[in-house]
Symmetry: C2
Subunit: 197 residues, 2 copies
């Protein structure tokens, strides 16, 4: 009567603890011994649950990529104005970011420690995601619902504001993820100018 469940949960535990360490210290500066100690076991024991250090990073990065795609998909599938869809997409992005800030930070900053071909695959995914956002902004410009000299530039700036969130967001702060999502969408769409709306 072997039970596979504890193994799976141990693996999830490893991923979770590793993600926190990768975020705080970076992938390269986090040792497997450190990770093992944080989990209360010896370094060698990790390898009955995982194949390598990079495997953890791979799972975190590609798992989050999937979440971002799912969020965007859902946000833009509902019939709405382009502006409304953009707003939904921004809020979906923020929800994924705030659901697990540590994983998000790793997704955003540690992916370059993936070795090939995973690294290129990851970059292709990220580019595809940005392209979806860009296309949405472009449709907004074409429809006259948005104004900007350049969809690519506008999209980059927009995603930049969102992606800085894991740097300062604290789950116990006074703003809920939805508050943050709404404010970000407001500020990005209306700007800081009092004429903005």
């Amino acid at each position: 009567m072997t039970s596979p469940a504890p193994t799976r949960s141990r693996k999830a535990q490893i991923d979770h603890t590793a993600t926190a360490l990768f975020r705080a210290q970076g992938f390269a500066a986090t040792s497997m011994r450190e990770l093992a100690t944080a989990l209360g076991l010896e370094a060698g024991s990790l390898y009955s649950h995982i194949k390598s250090k990079e495997e953890i990073l791979h799972r975190v990065c590609f798992g989050l990529a999937q979440e971002f795609f799912a969020g965007f998909e859902q946000a833009t599938s509902q019939a709405a104005s382009i502006g409304g869809q953009l707003r939904q997409a921004i809020e979906a992005h923020v929800r994924v970011l705030t659901r697990d800030v540590a994983a998000s930070a790793v997704f955003l900053h540690e992916w370059r420690h993936l070795s090939e071909p995973a690294r290129s695959e990851f970059l292709a995914l990220r580019e595809r995601y940005e392209a979806q956002f860009r296309a949405l902004v472009q449709r907004g410009l074409d429809a006259g619902e948005l104004a900007a000299p350049d969809a690519a530039f506008a999209t980059l700036t927009l995603l930049a504001s969102l992606n800085w969130l894991p740097t300062w967001y604290r789950p116990d702060g006074k703003l809920s993820p939805d508050d943050i999502a709404h404010r970000l969408a407001d500020q990005l769409i209306n700007g800081l100018s009092p004429m903005g709306e």
Copy 2:
């Protein structure tokens, strides 16, 4: 007849090459042997010019901090409307970022590999810089020249958009640093809404 000049230039060369490597691979994942090879010498030889690996990181991080402060100082010392000062400060920030993108990326992402007390000192400097920006935004809100529910939140978002720049900026792109600075300032202040101006 010893000449001290080559030594100083060698040190600058080391800093420059190290900065590029730190940016591309991260501080922890960059070895001194790699750095030495990139400079055409042996690992041990580096230590006649520098004291440690961290010393390089320290110089880059604190050097850039100084540039940001100088830029802000200059931008806000000229008499102008609050909105004008904010615009100048944004443009100054972008100019520092684009002057050396590699150093900027290291400043933004690798500072956490500083050991104490340098790490805390660095964070204090960064906080002080953000506080200056925040105060400027707050004055804009008070004067009715800007509109936002919260100066802190608005400032964070604003700096986020700017600080993502080293991720995508290429010096050989079609937009000059000043073009980028102007567009960023426009988009951040006026938003993406067609009513924005």
